[in-house]
């Protein structure tokens, strides 16, 4: 950077830079990767999710979200809100406890870690003594009970984490009073569960792994009652009236025990294995909640017959005669039930289930228990994301039509509003409507409202219907056969299995003015779609385009073309395909662009590129860019797949061999030592033969030089400086740029006269680096507007008087050429200076934070080092540089997409987008406030379970929230 400073020493420019650019990561969209714990505060109406990487995320009403990260890189195993407080406690895998709070600062709340604590046992005690297995946040809000692996219960005062040794409940105290006839009395095992008596906060039940439950009086420090269950204990639930305790066990049974007087002989009232007869899996959690007038709701997870349905992830809900086993597509982490009423003590209204890949909320008050659409935490990866495309400032008309099309897809969702309503969203309304489109492996394109903090799903387009695939289009969710037992019902939308990888979407381009959409996929298919508000039955005309143009010696070993349905297909309202181009060979489409004004689509693969006229449904021309000596591109992707397979096989063989050599009988220690020695030897070997890199200039013989990386339409001066003509530009992996002059017939003959294209120029960059971007700059040095932009927005017409310039962005350099005679004018070398290469490039407009009317266009660049740069236009000078993505995060870097206003998105996990901003003016970040509930209620009436709901709790949420709740209640009634 030093060298740029030398030029731009003028402090004025530096000040301007500060007014234009600033980098911040603003919000994470999507579903947290690898969630590991769930917590809920009924009083705050906030949901907390902990992840395996140590993140803690809080969500309330849409737009209200907080995020924190534990310094330790350990998984969050439990999250508990302190009842009626804004604090929450997290337990990490490394046995540390952390206290977090929501602190208001300048009218906005922040999530802060305010304390940490690790239990210390007596000296010399094994670590299991203090290994925390169960946490109870006592309803007093002052005590934390920690059950450990050693069977002890430690009592800690919060929020300061002060150990109250005198109140600890040691295993000895408990086991001395265990009845002699209890089988497992010699080893009660760890503390599995801790629950508070909902009507008497002095009583807690301690559930031991072996099965025994002990009701303990905190005041008198003695056991009140013993419940001698003999099956391995999984969870405990104290019913709301305090009269019964439910226990669930590892054999798939649950038992109901009555809590009698202090001296009454306890009796197992009822034991049940719901999916019984054959061995069942454990019921990991059980909850029972009463209704005002009717039988209670019983909700439990697991318990499936081991042999036949042991692989299902189910939560069963039983209410009166209704019994449903909700069948999720991924592992269940935890669940809780939200209850109605201003004090959240009424009937159960919604069941919130966190599974490994999504959050599912079931409306328990609507017939059929439909799913409520989540406004956030949506699994972006319900099918793996293969590409993304961002469109800024969508016109209202298109926006409404997309929403209308999307609403028709939501008919099987509940009409209920989102039940989690905590906090106030104070962020201003987004200044514009932005769309993020994600392409997926299963051939779908999802439309997301990316205007604000919540990435809200708007509409889903499926392209699979155009083709014959193995799937049955009617193979949908919710097709349980009558009388099936267990009564399964598929819920959730996470479905990572693609039936045909060829359907995968690789490139998307949407014209926001005309509503034309093109999507291109893995098998060389390019679909042209049009937004239609009515459903329509139509045949999609397919056009096969041979990109090889008779190139000799070609063997395509990759996949075959997709089979197109020849009969008319019924397309629902929304984007409907009307034209299809299929490249031959059917290689993945690597570049795509659309000019909706000229009604032309340009597409490219590793073999060449073509221009398609979707008005006349005719291919205009094809250019083969393949280098005949390029064997890899010639043969297609299969050979590489083979080599991966081969290396996999080899590595497996290696593992097996090492296991065999390791299998002679030696002591555990010896084996360990031996393994260590071998590891060391391997490391030493690695040092001996380190990774090396070949230093060689690129040549035309390199692989994939013909791969088309970028395509660009421009109305510019290609042949002479007085007449501008339509043109198509293509850039390849081998550093070539091809320019074609296009001749469009006059509008009145657009349908019958052919479009012609003539090769006009070809530039071979000497450094032969892949061309990743082409932009034509107008006479003012501003990038040419998008097609139809001028027609819709008169203020933005390009300067056609001054001379145009061509900007070619390769992975190594930014180079400006004059037009129409191509001669180098300016350049900025990136790779030669700092060794980084351009991975993603976009044109963005940056508004000044100081003055409303000043702004400038710039190039936003992401390098393979994960840095983002802004490069000025047209002078191609480096402006700012910020580290953004870890350089090792190759998929994150590859997934990055820039907006037209200096923001960007990239995947931080398969399911989460990180949003960042380079602009001082355009910033989308959560701004929200969570207020302390006022504290006034007799402590005896507190319901302690953070994951249950309160019986009678007095929490005063802010009036706005109350109003919102009331409003939602009114909606319910109508």
């Amino acid at each position: 950077m030093k060298r740029f400073r030398r030029h731009g020493q003028e402090s004025q420019r530096d000040r301007l830079k500060q007014e234009l650019f600033q980098f911040s990561k603003t919000v994470e969209h999507g579903f947290p990767h690898q969630p590991s714990a769930l917590g809920f505060s009924p009083s705050l109406q906030l949901l907390a999710i902990g992840t395996r990487s140590g993140a803690i995320k809080l969500y309330g009403a849409p737009g209200v979200e907080f995020m924190g990260l534990h310094e330790e890189n350990a998984a969050v195993t439990q999250v508990h809100f302190l009842p009626h407080q804004v604090e929450l406690v997290t337990l990490l895998d490394d046995n540390s406890l952390h206290m977090w709070t929501l602190r208001a600062h300048k009218g906005l709340s922040e999530l802060l870690e305010i304390g940490r604590f690790t239990l210390t046992g007596p000296p010399g005690a094994p670590p299991s003594v203090t290994r925390v297995t169960a946490v109870l946040a006592h309803s007093s809000g002052e005590l934390l009970l920690l059950g450990t692996e050693g069977g002890h219960v430690f009592v800690v005062e919060v929020p300061g984490f002060r150990e109250l040794e005198e109140r600890n409940i040691s295993l000895d105290q408990v086991s001395s009073s265990v009845p002699d006839d209890y089988i497992g009395r010699r080893n009660l095992e760890h503390v599995e569960a801790l629950q508070e008596n909902p009507v008497n906060p002095n009583q807690v039940v301690i559930g031991y792994g072996r099965g025994l439950m002990v009701i303990w009086d905190l005041e008198t420090q003695r056991a009140v009652q013993h419940i001698p269950a003999t099956q391995q204990l999984e969870s405990v639930w104290w019913t709301e009236d305090g009269s019964h305790i439910l226990s669930s066990h590892s054999d798939g049974s649950y038992c109901r025990w009555s809590v009698g007087g202090e001296d009454s002989k306890d009796e197992e009232e009822k034991s049940d294995i719901p999916y019984g007869h054959f061995p069942c899996k454990a019921i990991s959690k059980i909850v029972q909640l009463p209704t005002a007038n009717g039988p209670p709701f019983l909700v439990f997870s697991g318990g499936m017959p081991r042999a036949s349905y042991g692989d299902r992830h189910c939560i069963s809900v039983i209410h009166s005669k209704t019994h449903v086993a909700l069948d999720f597509t991924s592992r269940i982490i935890d669940f809780f039930v939200i209850r109605d009423g201003p004090q959240h003590t009424g009937d159960p209204s919604a069941l919130v289930v966190l599974v490994e890949e999504e959050l599912v909320v079931i409306d328990l008050q609507t017939e059929g228990w439909p799913v409520i659409q989540t406004p956030y935490l949506v699994p972006l990866h319900s099918s793996a994301i293969t590409c993304s495309h961002h469109v800024s400032s969508i016109p209202l008309k298109l926006w409404e039509r997309v929403i209308a099309a999307g609403e028709l897809q939501l008919t099987h969702y509940s009409k209920k509003p989102w039940p989690i309503t905590g906090g106030q969203n104070l962020a201003p309304d987004p200044p514009q409507r932005d769309l993020l489109l994600t392409g997926h492996e299963d051939g779908t394109v999802r439309f997301w409202d990316a205007s604000g903090v919540c990435l809200y799903p708007m509409y889903k387009l499926s392209t699979a219907g155009v083709f014959h695939t193995d799937t049955d289009p009617n193979d949908n969710m919710n097709q349980g056969t009558e009388g099936e037992w267990p009564p399964f019902r598929k819920v959730g939308c996470f479905d990572p299995y693609s039936d045909d990888p060829r359907l995968g979407i690789q490139k998307i381009h949407l014209c926001k003015y005309s509503g034309y959409l093109i999507v291109a996929g893995t098998a060389g298919q390019i679909l042209v779609l049009e937004l239609n508000d009515e459903e329509a039955e139509q045949t999609v005309e397919a056009k096969v385009v041979d990109l090889l143009q008779g190139q000799e010696g070609f063997r395509w070993k990759g996949h075959t073309r997709l089979d197109v349905r020849e009969e008319p297909v019924l397309f629902p309202p929304g984007f409907q395909p009307f034209a299809l181009v299929q490249c031959q060979p059917p290689a993945v489409v690597t570049a795509l662009t659309l000019h909706s004004e000229w009604k032309l689509v340009a597409f490219g693969t590793s073999h060449g590129f073509g221009l398609y006229d979707y008005q006349q449904k005719n291919n205009v021309f094809v250019k083969c860019t393949l280098n005949p000596s390029d064997q890899l591109a010639m043969e297609g992707p299969l050979s590489r797949v083979k080599s991966i397979k081969k290396s996999l096989r080899q590595s497996f063989r290696r593992i097996r061999r090492s296991r065999v050599s390791n299998s002679f009988p030696v002591g555990c220690n010896d084996a360990l030592q031996e393994a260590n020695a071998r590891l060391e030897a391997e490391l030493a070997e690695m040092e001996l033969a380190p990774v090396q890199r070949k230093i060689e200039a690129r040549s035309s013989d390199d692989s994939f030089t013909g791969l088309v990386r970028t395509l660009y339409f421009a109305d510019t001066f290609l042949s002479d400086s007085s007449h501008n003509t339509p043109s198509l530009w293509a850039g390849t992996n081998g550093g070539s740029v091809f320019a074609y002059m296009l001749r469009l017939p006059p509008v009145e003959h657009r349908t019958d006269e052919p479009i012609t294209a003539h090769p006009a120029k070809e530039i071979q960059l000497m450094h032969r680096a892949p061309v990743v971007g082409i932009v034509v700059l107008d006479g003012h040095g501003a990038p040419l507007p998008e097609p139809l932009e001028v027609a819709h927005d008169l203020s933005r017409s390009p300067d056609m008087q001054g001379s145009h310039h061509l900007l070619v962005v390769s992975e190594e350099q930014f180079k400006v050429f004059t037009l129409p005679k191509v001669s180098a004018k300016m350049k900025l070398k990136l790779t030669a200076i700092d060794g980084s290469r351009v991975r993603r490039v976009g044109v963005a407009w940056f508004g000044s934070s100081r003055s409303e009317d000043y702004g400038e266009s710039g190039l936003v660049v992401l390098t393979n080092q994960g840095d983002v740069h802004v490069v000025s236009l047209p002078s191609v000078k480096m402006q700012v540089q910020y580290p953004c993505i870890r350089r090792e995060d190759v998929s994150g870097i590859a997934s990055c997409v820039f907006t037209k206003h200096g923001q960007g998105f990239y995947l931080i996990s398969p399911s989460e987008f990180e949003r960042f901003s380079l602009s001082t003016r355009c910033l989308v970040e959560p701004r929200c406030l969570v207020e302390l509930p006022a504290h006034s209620a007799s402590p005896t009436q507190h319901r302690p379970q953070p994951d249950g709901s309160s019986q009678l709790q007095s929490c005063f949420v802010s009036s706005a929230v109350l109003q919102e709740i009331q409003k939602s209640l009114e909606v319910d009634q109508t």
Partner: protein, 407 residues
């Protein structure tokens, strides 16, 4: 000089106007551009028009850039005819009087006029010692050079590899490693980049200036400290047409030892003692001996700026217009008077000596020892490994380039 650029005549473009000068005499005639004929015919023609049938001649012409270039075979004769626009100016000399060093591109840009005029007006009678003609200097081009000897620590070597227009691969590999530095806190192990392998027959090997286990300190003036192996790889490839690497040779025996503190002009002389005695070699076999590092300045001064390198016409892009004729993109207008064939590198005194006297790249070794044998002697067995296993890696690195990732 201006006469060179006068307006093209309206006459038929197929004719080339020739103005030939021998001594003080001029002859004018024309040749058919499309049918120039062979060189020996042309040679005979010249002897004929100047009426010097038995005089051995050295034929030179002024090319478009004003350089004096020789005509001594069919190829450069045809080149001269085809580039003449429209006038072809010839300068004839008696072979025994000829000043061979006047030819060549490098010298002319420096002092075009003086050289030309020297040839034209003052055929110096004193310089009548007929040199032993091995070949003409223009038949050579620099392959490599050691530069900045005057400003670098003795333990470092800055090597320039001229890849320009060569078919020969650069031919070396780099790897991660660690080197020992002397810091105020004591010895410190720091990561570094090292040359790991030489491709036999490659440019790097043939120069003898680089060797396996040499530590790479800079690439084209930019320090590589703190950069990853991939970054340094990309930097080198991006600069591959004109690669300048500063290394700390693993073998410190062949260092240039300067006599005085000033350095400067004596740099390329062999004034120093022979370092074979081991005086400057501390016996550390690990890359990066401590003694060498002790004198490493924190920031290495360099005689050239990246800017300067950028103005090199090293990467002229090729533009093919619709007509189908290829032309090199004229780079920055300022560059039009610099030599098209050889990147200018003026500030380095020893480069010029090298270029002028460049009979071979090896000749510039200051100690007079042959670096090829010296540096590769102990490491020869490593360099001779076959290149085949690396081909796969090269492929892989290309795939990594993100072309296949289409997210």
């Amino acid at each position: 000089m201006n006469k060179n650029h006068r307006v093209p005549s309206n006459r038929s473009l197929s004719a080339v106007e020739v103005k030939s000068k021998f001594g003080a005499e001029f002859r004018r005639f024309s040749l058919d551009r499309s049918k120039p004929g062979r060189f020996d015919e042309f040679y005979g023609l010249l002897q004929h028009v100047h009426r010097i049938p038995n005089v051995e001649l050295l034929v030179g012409y002024a090319d478009v850039h004003g350089d004096l270039l020789p005509i001594n075979n069919d190829d450069n004769y045809h080149k001269a005819i085809s580039t003449a626009s429209p006038l072809l100016r010839l300068f004839l000399q008696r072979k025994e009087e000829a000043d061979h060093l006047a030819f060549g591109t490098d010298s002319l840009t420096r002092k075009k006029n003086t050289v030309l005029s020297a040839v034209l007006l003052r055929p110096d009678p004193n310089r009548k010692k007929p040199p032993v003609i091995i070949s003409l200097p223009k038949d050579f081009r620099p392959v490599s050079s050691i530069i900045d000897v005057d400003i670098l620590p003795e333990t470092h070597r800055r090597v320039r590899l001229y890849k320009h227009g060569q078919e020969k691969p650069l031919g070396f590999y780099i790897r991660d490693g660690s080197s020992v530095r002397v810091t105020p806190q004591g010895l410190e192990k720091v990561p570094g980049i090292f040359i790991s392998r030489m491709v036999p027959g490659g440019l790097a090997e043939s120069t003898g200036l680089l060797a396996v286990n040499d530590e790479v300190l800079e690439v084209n003036g930019i320090e590589v400290a703190g950069k990853s192996l991939d970054q340094v790889t990309d930097m080198m490839i991006a600069n591959s047409h004109n690669l300048i690497i500063t290394v700390k040779p693993a073998n410190q025996r062949n260092n240039i030892v300067r006599s005085g503190g000033g350095g400067g002009g004596a740099a390329s002389g062999s004034s120093g003692r022979s370092s074979d005695s081991g005086a400057s070699y501390y016996g550390y076999s690990s890359p990066g001996g401590i003694g060498a590092a002790a004198s490493t300045p924190s920031h290495i001064i360099q005689n050239f700026h990246p800017e300067e390198l950028e103005s090199d016409e090293d990467d002229e892009d090729l533009v093919i217009e619709a007509g189908g004729e290829a032309e090199l993109i004229p780079c920055a207008p300022s560059a039009s008077y610099s030599m098209p064939s050889l990147p200018r590198y003026e500030p380095h005194l020893n480069l010029r000596t090298a270029a002028a006297a460049s009979t071979s790249s090896i000749s510039i070794n200051a100690n007079g020892t042959l670096p090829t044998s010296a540096s590769s002697g102990s490491l020869g067995n490593i360099t001779s490994t076959t290149p085949s296993p690396d081909r796969a890696m090269e492929r892989r690195s290309l795939e990594e380039d993100g072309t296949v990732i289409t997210l």
